[in-house]
Amino acid sequence: MSAPALTIALTGNPNSGKTTIFNALTGGRQHVGNYPGVTVEKIEGRTTHDGRTLRIVDLPGTYSLTPYSVEEVVARDFLFDERPDVVVDILDCANLERNLYLATQLLELGVPLVLAFNMSDVAAARGYRIDVERLSGLLGVPIVETVGHKGEGLGELLDAAVAASRAREQAVAAQRRPNYGTEIEPHVVQMTERVAGALGGARYCRWLAVKLIEGDRVTRRRIRRLCPDGADELIAEGRRLGEHIEGVGGDSPEILFADRRYGFISGACTETVTQTVERRHEISDRIDAVLAHRWVGLPIFVALMYLVFYVTFAVGQVPMHWLEQGFAALGEAIARLWPRGSESLLKSLLIDGVIAGVGGVITFLPNVMLLFLAIAFLEDTGYMARAAFVMDSLMHRIGLHGKSFIPMLIGFGCSVPAILATRTLESRRDRLTTMMIIPLMSCGARLPIYALIIPAFFPAAWQAPMLWAIYFIGIALAVVAAKLLRMTILKGETTPFVMELPPYRMPPAKGLLTHMWERSWMYVRKAGTIILGVSIILWAATTFPRKTQYDKDYAAAETRAVEQYLAEAKGLNRDVGLPAESDLLVSALRGELQMREGQAEHWPGEGGYEQASERKEARMAELASREGGGALKRFLAARDALAAGQQELERAGGDGDTSREYLVAERRYRTVVEQLRARDPGALAAAEAYLDRIRPELRTALSRLAAERRAEELTYSVIGRVGRGLAPLLRPMGFDWRIGTALVGAVAAKEVFVAQLGIVFSVGEEAGSTDTLRRQLRDAYSPLVGFCVMLFTLIATPCAATCLVTWREAKGLRWMALQFGGLTAIAYVLTLAVYQIGRLFG
């Protein structure tokens, strides 16, 4: 039977490399960031050392044990309530004095303690010489030098921790604690004895005594719990001593204590730490001279943000295109399992439900990954903290301060970790205000919506500015909302903030990729679970109940459209060079239509497909042999040559395009036209009329009928009924019921919006790629509506996960309700105004 698991708590200042050591010890992959407050919850891992199981708990980084913020509460409660066997305090030894403050408090607690002097390589490189042995003697605790990211010293660290836990009593007895001087110390000792007497000699007595003298509220509550009988007396005694000390020392006891602790540290350090050169911040300071400059800093920040979005969009385009093609090919491969043109519920579920939904969301993975990569880079280099500095003045105007800005920036990735990151804010009012406005930061899940809509409605040159503008509108609204909140329900003075600026560092590529991947994986997982589920539900809701009796006879309408087409074609006879009443041309076109019908029932490569072409060829040959067959052949050849040229032009680019490819295609097309004009002007005129007028008319008529039929089916379905129920509400914003249904889906998760639009628009069609969807959107809506859709999804209805985490973190359903209702109301009013005003100006 092996010994029971040892519990080792890791504590340390933010940025001391705690999480890196935790990961190295346990093989975990926790996120490590270069700004305060990355670890907001305690995290556990296990490892074995010398045959013993070690339970290692990573506590949030704290500067002290006085709970000001949630993470300090988490750390302190763990130390008190779970009583770890040994505490390992991790210190950034390039910043020793500051980091030792927490150590002095741990010494006062009287827990078995081991200090890990982390980043000792960096400290050495920066000219610090630390006499570790001497310092260890002065403090009475074992000290191990470590280099977290290289894994150096970790074995020794665990050795020391296990040793300290074996001989706890001796370990604690050897510790030196700060002495508060002749004026104060006797009172502390006296109080400690009283506490020890009341509690029966439990641990933490000196700490409790100090805290009672300070008048710490949390400690008073704890004392009441620990010994309900003597608590009032102890508290009164603490208060009396506190007042006495304040009278003697001229300052409140907690400040005197903090001062003495720093004195104790600096005493120990002057004897053991020598600094050969002051180099630690040299490079960082030089960078900050620009990035944190009073005037230049803000424009640089704005430009950086712009760059992030530009890269997200421009670079993401390429792999996105591959994914689109991949999903289109997958859709077709699946469709081929069934005979072409057949109806099958399962096929529809797979293609219109799963591929259109999940594929639609996964397609945007490259964009999302790039955005996450950029955010990870800003976090890990240390720029985030500078952004807080740069934004402080602006944030101050809206009643928040720079520190609130870090959660807001994280909100660009995802609202959920952003809301968790508000834990670093000490004041509850600041925290609530920040939480309320975080959903206005456009998160990664909203990116697919913009990435779908922007290219659908706006020319290439406008795309990046448009995306930037949407993000900016979110920020601007957040500003207004925060100001309003601070003026109304969350009124109160801003608490000033003090925050450490970590030195810049170049994050290792592996770390960046890991962080990017962790968050992207969440996105992929969401696509595979929530979005898959929602897609299937939405597909079912768009498919059932099925309509069997149509309001309109579509078959007859189609026949009428075809007849109209053939009649118009007959009018070309004269130009083609046929007698006016000749049926030759009409027969040829009818043959083509029949071939298409035949082909629509078979996949290319199947016998039926080939047979349809062969039948048409035979018919053509027969027609060509009749009288006037030569003229017919000339017309068909001219038409096909023109059509091929036009297709090439379309592929090469749009009108006014100046790319080489387009110019070449244009020249080739002109040559074809000139040659035809010289040889057979009549056939050219007929071909042009056919291609520009007669055939497009048929296509438009047929696709309009198909759309009408689809709309009829959808209106009949569950989703159509819901959407139409909402339509009167949405119409003032320019939205129809199709957008309405997509918005309903977006409440579950924002990305579902894209998936749902894909489903609504692709019903009855074969695997629609994003490009087809964009074309359909362009046909159905104006750019103004496109903009309104983005605006509405930006502001309205934070997703389900955000609502839940707000509820939990704000500890109140009403805050969640306020966030949800308030944002939706703002979205409605604002989108309505934009749409109506936009319509006035065309």
Binding site: Y63, R98, H281, H401, G402
Partner: protein, 79 residues
């Protein structure tokens, strides 16, 4: 003088901080106790400040500008 009057590059000594008891305690725990010396590294207008204290860089939010009283420290003659 209030911190707001300190120049960039100037070394100052903290004389007093105004504020509630909890706030003062927090400042003290960050090492900002009366008597501590620090150097102003950078500042916005009218705040925030970046100061160098005990070998680290701290951002002092804009709200602190008028709450902190400092006095200039003479530069020690360079050896």
């Amino acid at each position: 003088m209030p911190l707001g009057l300190a120049r960039i590059g100037q070394e100052v000594m903290l004389v007093a901080v105004h504020g509630g008891r909890g706030f003062l305690h927090r400042m003290a725990e960050m090492g900002l106790t009366p008597g501590v010396r620090f150097r102003v590294m950078s500042r916005g207008v009218p705040g925030p400040y970046i100061v160098s204290i005990k070998g680290m860089r701290l951002v002092l939010g804009r709200g602190l500008v008028h709450r902190m009283l400092v006095k200039p420290v003479e530069e020690p003659p360079s050896p």
